[in-house]
């Protein structure tokens, strides 16, 4: 009996201590503005979540080191509050309310469409701005007035990719994309484009890039259809493994890489650049030809190690925090989401390209940032730039 009492006592002590500790954190400072983030910090997508957070943390550190932002007459510093949602929409909804009501966040970042959809149900009602890092077109279709979509639209890639590969290798493509939603959407668009150009799809064999223990059987099946070109798409490292498996099984054709995979990371895994011959993909964000990009890449390397290269998640989030900070300065408020969003377009034009990576040209009507990515391909052992056309 005593054991039970003791256990109950211990448990309640632990719980109340936790409660006290948790309470200690909240407590606002008028000269600090909280930026919220809800994303995966555990589970299979944790790495992705961490990358987005790293970008934000670097940006906030840089802004605060420079004295913060000037809103009206006040010098305001930024603070990041990050909550784990395990990639689950309902957790995002809970976190968003917590960030808004407990931490006073006006801008909440989330790097997955499910979380965005969940927040869209109430963000206008509860008055906060969603910073959505997702390429899902439906996010903007809803015309939510308090939403900004950060990453570029992938619709521009398939056509130039396809044309280049067809020209160099042939018209038969085998598809081994991921099974996640982004890969599916990308693949659907790619298939349409490829066939529209007179190409033929000889095999389609999607695999789960995050869970699969061995890609080799999926690759073997795709290659058995004797394709000229292989289409792959998912996170960089598994993508690299698939390319490696294909080369090991004797595949010599071209490889089209979805923009989620980063060429520089693929290179790190493959080691031998010859395996990359004939690969086409999006130019790494870290190779964006601006001063700002170079600067951020350097400071990232300083922070995380010389062999680490910031992914586009890092760079886009770095840029986005600066963008929102600028918009707050322009709007002269830190707690009116509508006013802040109204200034995003102006802010994007005022971001100094020597400090900020990438280049943003403005905000589209439906709330997406406009950026202009580029594509490259490995030809005879060298990277060659491919022209992307914008209609």
């Amino acid at each position: 009996m005593r054991r039970v009492w003791r256990a109950l006592f211990t448990l309640s002590t632990v719980v109340s201590l936790l409660f006290l500790a948790a309470c200690g954190n909240s407590g606002g400072d008028s000269n600090v503005v909280t930026i919220g983030w809800s994303g995966p910090q555990s589970g299979g997508a944790a790495l992705y979540g961490k990358n987005t957070l790293d970008g934000m943390k670097m940006a906030i550190d840089d802004i605060n080191a420079a004295g913060g932002i000037k809103v009206g007459q006040d010098q305001v510093k930024l603070k990041l509050v990050a909550l784990d949602d395990k990639y689950l929409p309902n957790e995002t909804a809970t976190n968003a309310r917590r960030l808004k009501h407990e931490n006073g966040a006006t801008i909440i970042f989330t790097p997955h469409s499910g979380g965005v959809f969940a927040m869209q149900q109430f963000n206008v009602q509860e008055n906060f701005l969603i910073a959505a890092y997702t390429s899902e077109p439906k996010v903007t279709e809803a015309k939510n007035p308090l939403l900004v979509r950060i990453p570029p639209n992938y619709h521009i890639y398939p056509k130039p990719f396809s044309e280049e590969m067809m020209k160099r290798f042939g018209k038969k493509v085998a598809l081994v994309p991921g099974t996640h939603q982004y890969a599916k959407d990308w693949t659907a668009l790619f298939k349409q484009t490829w066939m529209g150009l007179g190409g033929k799809i000889v095999a389609e064999n999607p695999v789960d890039y995050n869970k699969e223990s061995d890609f080799s059987s999926a690759v073997a099946k795709a290659l058995s259809a004797k394709p000229d070109v292989l289409f792959v798409g998912g996170a960089s490292q598994p993508t690299a493994l698939i390319i490696k498996d294909a080369r090991e099984q004797g595949f010599k054709g071209g490889v089209i890489m979805m923009d989620q995979a980063k060429l520089e990371e693929v290179e790190q895994v493959l080691k031998d650049p010859r395996l990359l011959e004939g690969v086409i993909g999006v130019r790494p964000a870290s190779q964006w030809p601006t001063e700002g990009t170079k600067k951020v890449v350097d400071s990232y390397k300083k922070k995380f190690g010389a062999d680490k290269i910031p992914t586009s998640e890092v760079l886009y989030h770095y840029m986005a925090v600066h963008l929102f900070a600028k918009a707050m300065e322009l709007a002269g408020t830190t707690d009116d989401p509508a006013a802040i969003r109204a200034k995003i377009n102006d802010a994007s034009k005022q971001l100094p390209s020597d400090k900020i990576p990438l280049s943003v040209e403005g905000l589209s009507e439906d709330g997406a940032l406009i950026t202009q990515p580029k594509a490259i391909t490995m030809k005879d052992g060298k990277y060659v730039e491919i022209q992307l056309s914008f209609q």
Partner: protein, 343 residues
């Protein structure tokens, strides 16, 4: 009433507090947390019926939660049916799927049933994820309309709160009625000894089926309410991690007690929220806490209360009785089993 914190007056008082909460605070975070606690409590109490009372540990209940949620979502989005009709259909459909799954799986005993149901859960979640033409797959189901009953629209958080509180109270009422009835006692008799129950004329399979189907209905109801509340669905809600989470709520609260599921859900969810401040350390802290809880409070919180009150071991099921499978158990297990033949 036998359970201390579940005594009539406490329950009544808590009920009135629950009714008054939206009047006392407009903090939507708290309301949202309570709504989530209600929803998951319903689902966990379903798991409790089959695992805690009928003694068959099911890990498929996240799958049934998913079925309930998707049925409601799909009916409202794709068939434009009204909220109440969709809710009814999703509950019935979950029960029907539950009946089919039960028929196959309840023939198995002990750990076999547990792991088989785990696999069933995985299948249900994979089906939801892969059947894209119906469920939209990993993209998720968008645009579930605001629940409406007659002319009342549940668009605000407060109105949703009352809607879900209503179903929560209803579910707990039905649970109470069942548990303290001949039907509930029948479940318990099967948990304690299927052999004895059968020799007393109880059709064990039939009763287990009833318990299983009812428990899936509760999971389905919870899922449907979740869909109506969040108005967006992704296949993750049916994932096996959720089944583990539900089991955890159940065990912490006290398996085989009426209020255990509610106490466990509320406590663990709150604990998880508090641990958010520790960020990366959250699970590093939570994992050992879990181990300590099962070591020192093996009957869960409500079980411990019942024990204090009755000053004797509480009714604790060992849902995985090896004797069913003819395996000798360890030395002291026999003592726990309380009596043995001295042949």
């Amino acid at each position: 009433m036998r359970f201390v914190p579940g005594s009539k007056w406490v329950v009544a008082a808590l009920f009135f507090v629950a009714l008054a909460i939206p009047l006392l605070t407009d903090n939507s975070y708290y309301l949202n947390m309570l709504i989530m606690v209600f929803i998951w409590s319903i689902a966990v109490s379903g798991m409790n019926i089959i695992a805690g009372y009928a003694g068959q540990l099911s890990l498929a209940h996240a799958g049934f939660f998913g079925i309930g949620a998707y049925t409601l979502g799909l009916l409202m989005v794709k068939a434009q049916m009204s909220f109440l009709v969709s809710l009814a259909v999703s509950v019935v459909l979950t029960g029907m799927v539950g009946a089919v799954v039960g028929m196959i799986s309840l023939r198995l005993k002990g750990h076999y049933f547990a792991i088989f149901s785990l696999c069933m859960g995985v299948i249900l979640s994979l089906v939801i994820e892969k059947w894209e033409s119906l469920t939209e797959g990993v993209r998720g189901l968008l645009g579930i309309p605001v629940p409406k009953i007659g002319s009342v629209e549940f668009s605000t958080l407060t109105s949703q709160y009352y809607l879900i509180l209503f179903f929560f109270v209803l579910a707990m009422f039905v649970n109470r009625q069942i548990i303290h009835s001949l039907v509930g006692r029948t479940f318990i008799s099967i948990r304690n000894s299927e052999e004895l129950a059968e020799s007393l004329g109880i059709h064990a399979m039939k009763s287990k089926m009833l318990a299983f189907v009812y428990s899936t209905v509760l999971a389905g109801l919870a899922g449907a309410l979740y869909a109506g509340y969040l108005r967006f669905l992704g296949p993750e809600i049916a994932s096996i991690e959720h089944a583990f989470e539900m089991l955890l709520y159940l065990l912490v609260g006290g398996i085989g007690t009426l209020w255990g599921p509610v106490v466990g859900t509320a406590l663990v969810m709150t604990l998880m929220q508090w641990l958010q401040s520790w960020q990366d350390y959250r699970m590093i802290i939570f994992g050992p806490i879990l181990v300590l809880i099962v070591m020192f409070l093996p009957h869960g919180i409500m079980g411990a209360f019942a024990q204090l009150k009755k000053n004797q071991p509480s009714v604790l099921p060992d849902t995985t009785d090896d004797k069913n499978r003819g395996i000798e158990r360890g030395v002291n297990d026999r003592r726990l089993a309380g009596g043995e033949s001295d042949a």
